[in-house]
């Protein structure tokens, strides 16, 4: 069954394939132009689980959606991971959420350490009550000179918790395993149990630095499920806010990268400039992270003429400032020596791991939801894609620089021509037995929300996917055969979300 970004279909139309055909279809589609954008489980009656696969075709801006049934009597299915690495985390998630075994999965460990949704025995005993995720085995390398270094979950800086287990030979990393799950809050089930206002707040808290991205995706799912067409002006304001969020985070990332490289001036300037963009969000929404802007049906804050003029004036200044600071950073030989050739992911590897967002674009993957699956503001205003060539830390930094410049140009172009009209339409009731999928290009990459309603028009399953879910694996892989002292810089060049992964 085919579906567009932001589209709605009747759930009954989603085909159910036999196990063998399901597997073959996924493999066939992914071998051609498709990629696995989502793969998740859904509870059916009698303890059966329906596995839904969504394959995206970036060229055609279309998704293919189909499913298979795993019965309660026989809770297992052949794993796709050995042939399709992109499915790796998805299958671990399914195994944990529904206590189904993906047979032949090469590294079947839980992701978030919670009891399953099916209410049967978990695949791992006491998983929900055992305190530390670190009690599960780590991939190990034998040898007299091999040593392990564990970092976290409590870190020296003020960052989120996560455990990093390095297997090293001297200063060289042989293998890195990243163990997350410390931030699991159970947002997915909560989204189906709470009302609209509460869920809006929840969606803003999926990843605090991507409040607008995730709340925008949530709102669009609700609008698609109810068939509400929101006013163009509210779409445009959402787009403006999303770009401001991207600007703040990309500039902050460049600052953090230069701090980790030990280049202080650029770090100090970027830190201040990040504040400038957050202040614009504050002026627009009353919150520096844009919380409270997007609600199902539109946005809650409008921009008047004075504000638009003020934004344009400020953004023109910020653009000049950013140009000079990024020139300072990217022309410094000592900085380039630090960035170049570090943590390389080739284009083929990136495709295999299914990387998204700036990390994928740095490895020449032309994936940008704003272009491939344009909705809302981007349907009428084109933004060029920013690609890197080398797939290293430099490329990931450079892609950010390009995206900042392009977002600034984009904002300066569209702000004076925002559509007029209302900013809010009341949301119609959700249609029964519907399915809607929404992708939004957050600053880290594609955010995907899927909503499925039941016979009464209530949400029965809400699936959230943060771009970090794909990209953490890329970070772990790019560290192989690198120096352990280069890890912080590589990590910062990805800057992934812990809570977005842990949900």
């Amino acid at each position: 069954m085919r579906i567009f970004n932001g589209g709605h279909i009747d759930f009954i139309n989603v085909p159910v394939l036999p196990e063998e055909e399901f597997r073959r279809t996924v493999m066939d589609l992914c071998q051609n132009d498709g990629r696995l954008v989502n793969f998740f489980g859904l509870l059916e009656g009698e303890g059966n689980v329906r596995l839904m696969a969504i394959i995206g075709f970036d060229e055609d801006a279309i998704f293919e959606i189909f499913s298979m049934i795993v019965t309660a009597v026989h809770p297992e299915f052949p794993s796709l991971t050995p042939e399709l690495l992109q499915a790796h985390n998805f299958e671990r998630e399914i195994a944990e959420q529904f206590a189904i075994v993906p047979c032949g999965h090469p590294w079947l460990k839980p992701l978030r350490y919670h009891a399953n949704y099916r209410g049967v025995a978990d695949l791992w005993q006491d998983i929900g009550s055992r305190p530390i995720p670190g009690t599960y085995p780590f991939f190990s390398v034998a040898g007299e000179e091999v040593h392990e270094v564990g970092v976290g979950p409590v870190h020296a800086g003020i960052i989120e918790p996560g455990h990093f287990r390095f297997v090293c030979h001297g200063e060289e990393i042989l293998h890195l395993e990243i163990q997350l799950g410390y931030q699991h809050r159970g947002i997915e089930p909560m989204m189906t149990k709470n009302n609209l206002d509460q869920c809006s707040l929840l969606s803003e808290a999926i990843a605090g630095d991507t409040s607008i991205g995730h709340s925008m995706a949530y709102c669009e799912v609700m609008e698609a499920l109810s068939g509400t067409a929101i006013p163009p002006r509210s779409q445009a304001i959402r787009g403006v806010a999303l770009e401001l969020e991207r600007l703040a985070n990309h500039v902050g990332d460049l600052g953090a990268l230069s701090l980790d490289a030990g280049f202080l001036p650029a770090s100090a300037y970027c830190g201040r400039m990040r504040g400038d963009y957050l202040n614009l969000l504050l002026a627009l929404t009353g919150n520096r992270f844009g919380k409270g802007l997007c609600r199902p049906g539109g946005v809650l804050f409008d921009m008047d003429e004075d504000m638009i003029k003020d934004f344009c004036r400020k953004l023109t200044i910020y653009k000049k400032e950013f140009e000079s600071v990024s020139d300072l950073l990217f022309t410094r030989p000592s900085v380039l020596a630090r960035f170049e050739g570090l943590g390389v992911i080739t284009s083929d590897e990136a495709k295999k791991y299914g990387l998204v967002g700036p990390a994928g674009r740095a490895s020449q993957l032309e994936r940008d939801v704003r272009i491939d699956y344009a909705t809302g503001l981007w349907q009428f205003n084109h933004i060029p894609i920013s690609l890197g060539a080398t797939g290293d830390v430099f490329a990931r930094a450079w892609v950010r620089r390009q995206e900042v410049m392009r977002s600034l140009e984009f904002l300066l172009k569209i702000l004076p021509t925002l559509p007029h009209g209302n900013i809010f339409t009341p949301l119609a009731p959700l249609k029964a037995d519907g399915l809607a999928i929404v992708l939004v290009e957050g600053w880290r990459g594609e955010i995907m929300h899927v909503g499925i309603t039941d016979h009464q028009g209530q949400l029965r399953r809400y699936k959230i996917k943060d771009p970090s879910f794909h990209n953490w694996f890329g970070l772990a892989q790019c560290m192989r055969n690198q120096e352990i002292s280069d890890f912080p810089l590589c990590n910062k060049s990805f800057n992934l979300s812990y809570c977005g992964h842990d949900l």
């Binding site: 040593h147 392990e148 270094v149 564990g150 970092v151 020296a156 800086g157 200063e171 230069s258 980790d260 490289a261 030990g262 280049f263 202080l264 001036p265 770090s267 100090a268 300037y269 201040r272 410094r332 000592s334 900085v335 020596a337 630090r338 570090l342 120096e483 352990i484 002292s485 280069d486 890890f487 912080p488």
Partner: protein, 308 residues
């Protein structure tokens, strides 16, 4: 005897009072260059005062080695300081070959810091210790090479004479040699004291640290000792470098002292500027940097040999 005690105490007073100020100037310079106001130049004094008021916590895996390291480190650098002249304040202890005492007391301090880091059993401290041991091997080589050049020019192997009154003559006789020695001593100063581009004193990332990761487990008074020892070590290196760069001797004691103090501040400023304009090296490039400084020292030595 009483006068010797007096001179020793006076010397220690200068070191103990001056070292934190030297350390305080650098962050201020860095802050100003990057457009911030930055902490007060007296911040290291406040930090030390705070740490001295704290109690010390020890991990159960550590032994007496861990507790001895801060004391040995501080005591060693204080002993070293007695051999180093501070312009008008002559070194209280001078003897032929005291230069070896300088090098080996510094090595003793380092040895205890490394062994204390290993004593904690923390994998990251072990990594820091291994890096420290490796890089100090290289920088010690450079240090000795420079000492040989200076000794050759001064015809003496006592530190006070090597950086003493003969320096202006040496500049005329073998200027290039001294220039190269000064250049490579500056690199040694950066490397030995864990400044950029070798180590980053401001980073919070354990995986990239060298010196900082070795003192992660120290707290309270012990940490104050460690910080103090590191500060004094840097002060000593600067005090060795400044008379080479600013060898002018006026008849006036106050003017001489002003030149020395100005030179020390200037050096702190220079370190701040270097740290602001450079990113840190990748760890596997540090050895190249240190070997280049050795090459510089070695060429200085050859020039000195040739000119003498």
């Amino acid at each position: 005897m009483i006068s010797l005690t007096f001179y020793i105490l006076l010397h220690w007073l200068i070191v103990l009072a001056g070292a934190p100020l030297f350390l305080g100037v650098i962050p201020r310079v860095k802050a100003v260059i990057s457009g911030r106001r930055g902490p007060s130049v007296f911040q290291p004094y406040y930090d030390l005062a705070r740490l001295f008021q704290k109690k010390t916590v020890y991990s159960r895996t550590t032994t007496w080695l861990f507790r001895a390291a801060p004391i040995v480190a501080l005591a060693s650098v204080l002993m070293v300081s007695l051999v180093v002249p501070f312009c008008v304040f002559k070194a209280p202890i001078q003897f032929t070959g005291d230069i070896l005492l300088v090098a080996y007391l510094l090595a003793l301090a380092r040895f205890f810091m490394i062994i204390a880091a290993l004593d904690t059993g923390y994998s990251m401290e072990g990594m820091g210790a291994s890096r420290e041991a490796f890089f100090s091997c290289l920088s010690e080589l450079t240090l000795f090479m420079n000492f040989i050049t200076l000794a050759l020019l001064a015809h003496n192997i006592s530190l006070s004479r090597m950086i003493g009154a003969d320096i202006p003559v040496s500049w005329q006789m073998a200027g290039p040699a001294l220039l190269m020695a000064a250049g490579s001593l500056f690199v040694v100063l950066l490397a030995e004291n864990c400044r950029l581009p070798v180590d980053d004193p401001d980073t919070h990332l354990e995986l990239t640290m060298i010196h900082e990761v070795m003192i992660l487990e120290h707290g309270g008074v012990d940490l104050a000792y460690m910080h103090y020892a590191a500060g004094i070590k840097m002060f000593i290196f600067a005090a060795i470098l400044v008379p080479i760069l600013l060898p002018w001797q006026t008849g006036n004691v106050l003017q001489n002292w002003a030149i020395f103090c100005g030179g020390m501040m200037g050096l702190a400023l220079l370190v701040g500027v270097v740290e602001s304009t450079m990113a840190r090296f990748r760890l596997n490039r540090v050895k190249h940097f240190l070997l280049i400084s050795f090459a510089l020292a070695f060429f200085g030595f050859i020039v000195a040999l040739w000119r003498i």
